[in-house]
Amino acid sequence: MSSTRKFEVLRTVVAILIALLISFGVIFLVSDDPLNAISWLLTGPLKSQRNFFNVVESMIPLIFTGTGVCIMFSANQINLASEGAFHIGGLVSAVVALKLALPAGISPVVAILLSACAGALFTAIPAILKIKTSADELVSSLMINYLALYFSTFIMKYFLQDPAVGSASYPIPEASTLPTLIARTRVHPGIFVALAVAVLGYVFLYKTKIGYQLRLTGENQQFAEYSGISIVKVILISQLLGGFIAGMGGGIELLSPIYDRFSWTSLLGYGWDAIIICTLAKKNPLYTPLSAFFLAYLRTGASIMARYSDVSLEIVQIIQGVVILFIVAQQFLSRYKHKMIAREAKAALKEEEEEVG
């Protein structure tokens, strides 16, 4: 096992290195000053406190949706409803903040909890469709994400819209917003909630009875069924919980210092990003902060690079794509892995013989 795990780490690192090399190649092709661009890409996030905290603030939504997707994917519920759940979560917290006028301190808590519940209800839709009609959750979740988007836009335009600015709600009242933790940055207490969610997600999946049921079902549904586990329950719980966490992430994100109004008129892509996070974290929520840091660092670096050089931001898409491709490619480095294992096995044989002799 140890050699397998070592190998997985190695494989991820090599995949990242290859992806970086390919993107360097692209930068060399398109840029007049490639070294400058590469240097901003790699070290930009470290060059100022502000840049670095940009990385931290963009980790937060990724950890939420990443953890949610880890839970859903562990139960083999491969779906994208976390995208819509995040969106709906943002809408609900905006509605609570603008319409309920609760006192400061209470308002954000209520808003976030309700947005989490809304997220759970949302991801329950593909689950129920699957249970009742065997509709494939991947397809149905993709479709209902548009429902989330246009429903939110509708609510915003008819009930929340600030005529002074157009396509956005009235500003979120101060009583509901999350404070900044560090002056001149936008890092907010959501980071602590996110880290707690990642740890709790891990405990849930790996230490609890229901988490065990989820993972058994995810790895072999027929076996789980034969063992007496209720598949319906597993599908529902994994989807409700995944949506709860993604919705909470959406609620927190909207109340954070990053936004001052609900202005999400297109999907933000955190549900898709969550799949990258989940793949890098090998479906273990404990590793989502690390994966989120990697992705956030890369993106922040790329946006800094785009500002200070002639290379555009989209280069980051290439890096992301290549990394994921290599990580999911089962055969990548398999020859090396085989050699490593053969060497170990031969050594073990020799040891055994010496013991006998």
Binding site: M1, L216, N220, Y226, I229, A345, K346
Partner: protein
């Protein structure tokens, strides 16, 4: 006098990507025109050695010498072009095509761009005649019995010009009658100068048909012997490394109450075909009810209905006095029913999870193993180590992935899980299929121990030795019914049983299924 060697595999070593050393240093030599047995427990490395020979696996060490020349075999196509053919344990035929079409598949006679079907039929018929295989080559494969399917597989290999024919446990799926017919064919092939590798763990069959035998144990060759000069006891000792008793002393029966009462059970499969036909029987504590039969005669459907997987049935099933219909699978399992499923990888375990995670899928929620929410990881881990020792699962640790173990060891994990839950009823479906003699003996002994302790057991098995050795009552399933039921198992011969299995004979009036 030393005959001419057609094939030598010298010092073959093969290590799998999961670290299992399947072949350590194996040498196999074939003489022209012999039937050579490759004998060994499961996990001994027979299949791996043959995969190396057939180009499916690349060896990490060693060389292959074919007709005096060293060769590397890169792929099955390569092996076929060198005159090596293989008949797999699980048939590789296309059910919707005819026999002739299956035989020519991949090497079709062409007329322009199109397949010349008339020529295909003619060629298939010709080759079938050459080797005295009496087969209707225009029949669809899905409509022919298992024994014929196997002949088609052999013809397929011969059609591609195989001189060396590898047969991987060819008799595992055959009735006694079909087996003896196969043996006649194999002897004819030998006369024609073909060399046959016969993989098996059935010693009596090897005695009957093979000339020499290479015995493997633990990835090593234990030597090659002339079959006429070695006793079955010696073979089995070389194979297992110790004396194995495959006959059991059964203690007298102590029957207790009826724990399962099945009445007028009728089940259709998902295609609407009648699979269990109006079946009624009782099961008492302290007995083993053996169910024999050719595969596909409703055994699978019967078992899946008894354990609650299938809820679409007519009739009644009562388990310990309660109607099973409203009960979930969990509810039935809570009545202390254990189930060893037929297909261990599909429904017996999760190959990607660890031994530990596979060991408690049926009992993790018991108070000793978990609280209201959390699992008691330490207790589970300790208990798992105990079970690994008790059931002699060969592994590195309880954290090892189940999928990396050999078949026999995977089965031991499953059996350990099912037996450790103090069952009152055990449904064992092919509990020792494809696993080694040591593990087989262990599992059978355990089943007898449970029987003696008052457990009620249903045993479905294609292995007639197993059925005979363990059953207190023996039923033969044919087309969804019990064609026969024997309360005195010792009075039945294997041939007799074979006739019931093939539907040549059936009891006019079934007695002994129901306790009055």
């Amino acid at each position: 006098m030393e005959k001419q060697a057609v094939l030598q595999m010298l010092n073959i070593m093969k290590i799998y990507s999961n670290g299992v050393v399947a072949n350590e240093d194996v040498t196999l030599e074939l003489q022209k025109g012999e039937i050579h047995a490759l004998l060994g427990e499961n996990g001994a490395g027979k299949s791996t050695l043959m995969k190396v020979l057939f180009g499916i696996e690349t060896p990490d060490q060693g060389k292959i010498i074919l007709n005096g020349r060293e060769v590397t075999i890169k792929s099955p196509q390569d092996a076929i072009s060198k005159g090596i053919g293989m008949v797999h344990q699980h048939f590789m035929l296309v059910p919707s095509l005819t026999v002739a079409e299956n035989i020519i598949l991949g090497v079709e006679p062409k007329k322009g761009l199109f397949i010349d079907f008339n020529k295909a039929v003619a060629e298939a018929e010709a080759i079938s005649k050459t080797y005295n295989f009496d087969i209707d080559v225009t029949a669809k494969v899905e409509e022919i019995p298992v024994g014929i399917k196997q002949k088609v597989e052999i013809l397929k290999a011969l059609y591609r010009g195989a001189d060396i024919l590898i047969l991987d446990e060819p008799t595992a799926v055959l009735t006694p009658q079909e087996t003896s017919e196969l043996f006649v064919q194999l002897k004819k092939l030998r006369e024609n100068g073909h060399t046959i590798i016969f993989i098996s763990h059935k010693l009596d069959e090897i005695k009957e048909i093979c000339d020499r035998a290479t015995i493997m144990r633990n990835g090593r060759s234990m030597g090659t012997y002339s079959v006429s000069e070695i006793s079955t006891d010696d073979m089995s000792r070389l194979m297992v490394g110790r004396e194995v008793a495959l006959t059991f002393e059964k203690s007298p029966q102590h029957l207790t109450d009826v724990v399962m009462r099945v009445r007028d059970l009728t089940v259709h499969n998902s295609q609407g075909i009648l699979k269990v036909d109006n079946l009624s029987f009782d099961l008492k504590g302290g007995e083993i009810l053996g169910i024999a039969g050719v595969e596909g005669n409703g055994q699978t459907e019967l078992i899946d209905t008894l354990n609650g997987i299938n809820k679409k049935y007519r009739g009644t099933i009562e388990i310990k006095g309660s109607d099973a219909r409203p009960l979930s699978i969990k509810g039935i399992r809570d009545l202390k029913l254990a189930h060893i499923p037929e297909d261990r990888m599909a429904s017996g375990c999760a190959g990607t999870l660890s031994i530990l995670e596979n060991m408690f899928s049926n009992q993790y929620d018991q108070p000793e193993y978990s609280g209201r929410v959390l699992l008691k990881r330490k207790v589970l881990s300790r208990r798992c180590d105990e079970l690994i020792r008790e059931y002699r699962v060969k592994c590195k640790s309880s954290r090892q992935q189940v999928g990396m173990l050999s078949g026999g060891n995977i089965q031991k994990v499953i059996v350990a899980r099912e037996f450790s839950n103090q069952p009152d009823i055990i449904i064992a479906n092919q509990p020792t299929r494809g696993i080694d003699v040591g593990a087989t003996e262990f599992i059978r002994r355990r089943l007898l121990e449970f029987r003696d302790a008052g457990c009620a057991i249903i045993l479905v098995s294609a292995d007639l030795n197993e059925i005979f050795a363990l059953s207190d009552r023996l039923a033969v399933m044919y087309k969804g019914k019990f064609a026969g039921l024997f309360t005195d198992v010792s009075s039945v011969t294997e041939e007799e049983l074979g006739r019931y299995m093939l539907g040549l004979k059936h009891a006019e009036k079934l007695e002994g299924a129901i306790y009055e």
